[in-house]
């Protein structure tokens, strides 16, 4: 009887408030070793695969990575100039500008939390300063957001979870909308666009920065189907996430500066102006 009352009280308090997160993180210290234990076989297999890969394969991979690095480096050169130009232009418009982000690389634990929910567990928690609602990326695009941060692990809700929605914008023309998870891996839906919206298969969707959780400008998905039915108000649009949601083991947790910093941009422009004058 006591047990029933206690669990009911717990259920209600956690549902109504978030007062018991302390209890959860304390208990998670007991439970987290289980997650690491379950992950162990996968980690060992991966480690073994790394250590026995042949010299030839390593050499090939090294060459490929070097090429990639050169390409990225040259792109970055241009990027820096573009960023400066962008800051200057924004300063001219007297607009705010958000400066860079800090990232933490976290590794996925192969643990299956519950069916029907696209929630994964990573090996970094509040000990590393992770907090709920932080955006999570991989090398290709947005993965999801931190759903719950525990001391040694944290739970990440993927963008394909049926309870997840992310504000996006079409990169081609800046059309704003919201992408919802469909519950299927590799499928997002855009339920809020009218049938005459200017969107077509192949369009890249990027984060719009509205809502404040996700920083602006990261690729989210590519539109792969657009069907406008004349008898319905909204079109059915589906998109494929850019991030490799079911294949990647390394994820990046992002700290973005949510406060915009117009003062810094002004000081940069004044500095540049003064340096121009010196010349």
């Amino acid at each position: 009887m006591v047990a029933v009352i206690a669990s009911t009280i717990l259920l209600v308090t956690e549902y109504r408030t978030s007062q018991v997160s302390g209890v959860r993180s304390t208990l998670s210290i007991v439970v987290d070793p289980i997650k690491y234990l379950v992950d162990l076989p996968t980690a060992i297999v991966e480690q073994a695969a790394h250590s026995i890969s042949s010299y030839q394969a390593l050499k090939l991979e090294n060459e490929r990575l070097r090429e990639e690095q050169i390409i990225h480096q040259s792109r970055l050169l241009k990027f820096e100039a573009l960023e400066n130009e962008n800051i200057r232009l924004r300063a001219l418009l007297e607009n705010s500008f958000k400066l860079g982000e800090q990232v933490l690389v976290a590794e996925l634990l192969s643990v299956n939390m519950a069916p029907y929910e696209h929630i994964v567990v990573v090996n970094k928690g509040t000990r590393f300063g992770v907090h709920p609602q932080q955006p999570v990326l991989d090398a290709n695009g947005v993965v999801g957001q931190v759903f719950r941060a525990l001391p040694f692990t944290s739970e990440i809700m993927l963008i394909t979870d049926p309870n997840h929605a992310i504000p996006v914008q079409v990169n081609r023309n800046g059309l704003l909308t919201i992408a919802m998870g469909s519950g299927q891996m590799n499928r997002l839906v855009l339920p809020f666009l009218p049938s005459n919206a200017d969107i077509r298969p192949g369009d890249l969707l990027i984060t719009s920065g509205l809502g404040g959780t996700f920083p602006q400008g990261y690729p989210v998905a590519v539109v792969d189907e657009f069907t406008a039915e004349p008898n319905k108000a909204f079109a059915t649009i589906t998109a494929t996430p850019k991030a490799l949601l079911d294949r990647n083991r390394e994820l990046m947790i992002v700290w973005s500066k949510s406060v915009s910093v117009p003062l810094i941009t002004k000081s940069i422009t004044t500095k540049e102006r003064s340096s121009d004058e010196v010349k």
């Binding site: 029933v4 007991v30 643990v111 939390m113």
Partner: protein, 162 residues
């Protein structure tokens, strides 16, 4: 047959921890739908065979740990497990006399009740669609019961030869 009281506490905890590992083992999407509630099966075994050692307190504690492990709302597994273990304790003397088939039927209803409670709580949070595969773990759990029973029998009776 009543087990002797000398089963070490360590074994009970170890089997429950193993069951929790099985609970979150990474499986493909289809297999994950079939993964039965191992923690409950192991708890029921201990409650039927060592009712004076494993009771509602254990059920509640491990339910709470399962909640944290699977990221549910705190207390829902704790509630379901403690209710079912209460039932098991109430009927354990009668259940031991039952033939194996009837025991299986009892396990089936235990699992069904726990799943019903979980669905009820989930529905209170936000109305959820009931997918038919939600009930699959009940059936796989019942199918796995003889296996769990045999293994646990082995674990609880096994003695290190001196």
């Amino acid at each position: 047959m009543r087990l002797n009281n000398h089963v070490s506490y360590f074994r009970i905890i170890l089997t429950l921890a193993l069951a929790m590992c099985l609970r979150v083992v990474p499986l493909s999407e289809e297999m994950a739908l079939l993964n039965p509630d191992w923690v409950l099966l192991v708890l029921v075994y201990w409650a039927l065979n060592l009712p004076e050692r494993v009771g509602i307190f254990h059920a509640w504690t491990f339910g709470l740990l399962t909640d944290v492990l699977t990221g549910r709302l705190l207390g829902q597994y704790a509630l379901a497990y403690s209710l079912i273990i209460y039932m098991c304790l109430k009927f354990h003397n009668r259940l031991r006399q039952f033939p194996f088939f009837q025991q299986g039927l009892f396990i089936f209803f235990c699992l069904l009740l726990s799943q019903l409670l979980l669905f009820f709580i989930k529905n209170l949070q936000h109305p959820a669609q009931l997918h038919a595969s939600f009930w699959l773990p009940v059936f796989t759990g019942t199918i796995c019961w003889p296996l769990v029973y045999g293994l646990m029998r082995f674990v609880s009776l096994f003695r290190f030869v001196k």
